[in-house]
């Protein structure tokens, strides 16, 4: 086999390895890309450290809360209020009621989702039950708080925002830590 063929083979093998690596690199790239461009409404779900976010005389925005249970998740999970009116630039605390009706201790993780997607990056949270896993003993219940604020850059066309949480049973995933940059909010798909 001549030198030229060997070189072609080497290049192609590197291309194959490179593309295999790239498929795995797509996972973090996807998150970073969505965060940088704001596409897909992905935002970091760390507690906000923006202290200049509060303003006086914000405008009215209504926020609706939706709760879903992932398949076979037996917990009771519902917002205390279905919908509230808040002002941009003002913190507000909403609560969700959870109860573990089973006879075993269970761990849950809530994953949020915001619609419309371009509201997602303007919804900031000071604290949220979705930042960590929730553990409830048999029959135990709790009122879980989320303290949130809309910054005043919220596009003026948006007067109403849906904040939806899906609660997952992660008891069997015990010990697996979620990485921070995967705590993302997702665009809620209206038809889902």
């Amino acid at each position: 086999m001549n030198q030229g063929s060997k070189k072609t083979i080497r290049t192609l093998c590197f291309a194959v390895l490179g593309m295999f690596t790239f498929s795995f690199a797509l996972v973090p790239l996807y998150n970073v890309f969505c965060e940088v461009t704001g596409l897909n409404g992905k935002i970091e779900l760390r507690a906000t450290n923006d202290t200049n976010i509060e303003i006086e005389n914000g405008r009215d925005v209504s926020i609706q809360f939706v709760s879903h249970n992932n398949e076979e998740m037996p917990w009771t999970f519902e917002p205390s209020e279905d919908s509230i009116k808040i002002k941009t630039g003002k913190y507000h605390t909403a609560t969700f009621y959870v109860k573990n009706p089973t006879d075993r201790t269970m761990i849950a993780q809530a994953i949020p989702s915001v619609a419309p997607s371009n509201a997602a990056s303007h919804l900031k949270k000071l604290e949220c039950f979705c930042f960590e896993q929730q553990e409830l003993a048999p029959g135990e219940d709790a009122l879980l708080p989320v303290r949130l604020i809309f910054d005043d850059k919220l596009p003026s066309a948006i007067n109403s925002v849906v904040l939806s949480y899906t609660i997952f049973d992660v008891t069997d995933y015990d010990g697996i830590e979620l990485t921070q940059n995967t705590h993302n909010s997702h665009v809620m798909e209206p038809s889902l």
Binding site: M1, N2, G4, S5, T8, I9, L12, C13, A15, V16, L17, G18, M19, F20, F22, S23, F24, L26, V27, Y30, L39, N40, G41, N70, Q109, I111, S117, N118, T166, F168, D169, V170, Y173, I176, L178, T179, T182, H183, N184, H186, V187, M188, E189, P190, S191
Partner: protein
């Protein structure tokens, strides 16, 4: 390598084929391996086709008639996987094996032993995949697109076997593609510059690059599934911080180039056949090359048009809509070039030409329905309906499959030394042509009327067209038995073919005698 082995290898060179079954097991000859690929693909075509018959039989009338819905889903999934990875792709690899070395004036493929390996792992891949039918929980039932978490959390246990079979198919495709690229880049006869290469060779060079780029991504996707299922990772599991939409992005990043992998070699084949039977030089050779290259490059930036309804932002929907529509430009160039080649040609309508003309017409219909699907707001209506089924069957059956059949009729005199039966060939064409259109054209209408895809039962208003569609499918299915008969008859005997076979044939493969000797172009031919 020792001198003894080298001289032995040299002696072998002058032998004809070995005798017996081991000839096929140990062969490193590109023509043998090409035949193996083609026969394997034919077997898979019949198995996948039998599954399609089960699907159409169930859909013959509304209500559940013949199979359980669970089994229906398994048939649907295996039909897709087998036709894509078992029938169409190996058929094109088989044609590449037979034709690329002869067309570029090379004695064999560049890596003959790897060529043997890349074929012989394929039967194992499909044995594993098909054996899942007999496993507890049944075969994969999540559709050929295996969206996670349907294919991870909610999949039958046999999904692990599915994953390994996809790994093996991927390895086979990658090895095959490396072989094709190395052969084309390094073993062309002196004087054959890239822009003098026959278009089938060009189409395969581009296809091979696409395969090398995206098969590893498919391997990555199924590996992530494997890890989600068995090693507790959460790539696609939202509860663990993963993202099901990410699966669709990765899958379609592979999947869209994959659909062009299944059509680009068909473009090459159609160009040769139309030029031959129009008795004219192909119109616009260099624009054909550029069109194929642009289609290949664009295929990497359109993947999200398969997922308009997942909740993409407006900017992304617009980008992927326009990028997709852009592909119509190079594709249109190709169609116009084929039509212009035929214009004022002295056309005769032998079976390969009939299939090639049907390819141009029906592939264009499939292309137009693709353009309709590319319109984002319209896609919200068409998504996951039978309109999509009609669209991709129009580009795959009278597109890819017709081009493969055209290629078989066109080159079989060169392969076997015998002419096929023209009368039976034409009969096969007209039965297939009628069958395909009766099967898939009504599916446009029931799709637009709202019938969802991947369902074993449907609402009453879709009953008439479904019955007609099923009748067409049975006709198309049965006419492939005739194809098998014609091929076998030609292999056994028939009118002897001349070297040139066709009056208007051009290219190096027509300069060697028919049947092509076991070893061709041991000394490179001279290209003017």
């Amino acid at each position: 390598m020792s001198a003894v082995i080298e001289s032995h290898g040299h002696d072998d060179h002058h032998h004809g084929p070995a005798k017996g079954l081991t000839r096929w097991l140990y062969t490193t000859n590109h023509k043998d391996i090409g035949s193996l690929y083609l026969w394997f693909s034919f077997a898979m075509f019949l198995i996948g086709g039998a599954m399609a018959m089960v699907i159409r039989a169930e859909l013959f009338q509304p209500g559940m008639q013949i199979v359980e819905p669970e089994f229906y889903n398994q048939m649907l999934t295996l039909h897709g996987l087998i036709m894509v990875f078992g029938a169409v792709m190996p058929a094109f690899v088989g044609l590449a094996n037979w034709l690329v070395p002869m067309m570029v004036g090379a004695p064999d493929m560049a890596l003959p032993r790897m060529n043997n390996l890349s074929f012989w792992i394929l039967p194992f891949a499909f044995f594993i995949l098909l054996s899942s039918l007999f496993m507890e929980g049944g075969a994969p039932n999540f559709g050929w697109t295996f969206y996670a978490p349907l294919s991870t959390t909610y999949a039958p246990p046999s999904v692990t076997f599915f994953i390994f079979s996809v790994h093996i198919m991927g390895a086979s495709s990658i090895m095959g593609s490396i072989n094709v690229v190395v052969t084309i880049m390094n073993m062309r006869a002196p004087g054959m510059s890239l822009m003098k290469m026959p278009l089938f060779v060009w189409s395969w060079l581009i296809t091979a690059y696409l395969l090398i780029a995206v098969m590893p991504v498919l391997a990555g996707a199924v590996t992530m599934m494997l890890m989600d299922i068995h090693f507790g990772t959460s790539f696609f599991n939202a509860a663990g911080g993963g993202d099901p939409v990410l699966f669709q992005h990765i899958f379609w990043f592979f999947g869209h180039p994959e659909v062009y992998i299944m059509i680009l070699p068909a473009f090459g084949i159609a160009s040769h056949i139309i030029e031959t039977f129009s008795r004219k030089q192909l119109f616009g050779y260099s624009s054909m090359v550029w069109a194929m290259a642009s289609i290949a490059i664009l295929s990497f930036v359109v993947w999200a048009h398969h997922m308009f309804t997942v909740g993409l932002p407006l900017a992304a929907e617009l980008f992927f809509m326009w990028a997709t529509m852009l592909i119509a430009v190079p594709t249109g160039v190709k169609v116009f070039n084929w039509v212009t080649t035929m214009f004022k040609g002295s056309i005769t309508y032998e079976t390969p030409m009939l299939f090639a003309i049907a390819f141009v017409v029906l592939f264009t219909i499939g292309g137009f329905s693709g353009l309709m699907l590319a319109i984002t707001p319209a896609d919200f209506q068409y998504h996951d309906t039978y309109f999509v089924v009609a669209h991709f069957h129009y580009v795959l059956v009278p597109g890819s499959i017709f081009s493969i059949m055209a290629a078989v009729y066109y080159w079989i005199p060169k392969w076997t030394g015998n002419m096929y039966d023209e009368r039976l060939g034409k009969l096969h064409f007209w039965l297939s042509f009628t069958g395909v259109n009766v099967t898939f054209f009504p599916q446009h209408w029931i799709g637009l009327a709202g019938m969802p895809r991947r369902v074993p039962d449907y609402a009453l208003q879709f009953a008439d067209w479904n019955m007609i569609s099923s009748v067409g499918a049975f006709l198309f299915g049965a006419s492939q038995i005739l194809f098998l008969f014609i091929v076998l008859k030609t292999v056994m005997g028939g009118k002897k073919a001349t070297s040139k076979v066709w009056e208007g044939a051009r290219g190096l493969e027509w300069t060697v005698e028919s049947p092509a000797p076991y070893h061709t172009f041991s000394t490179p031919p001279k290209i003017n």
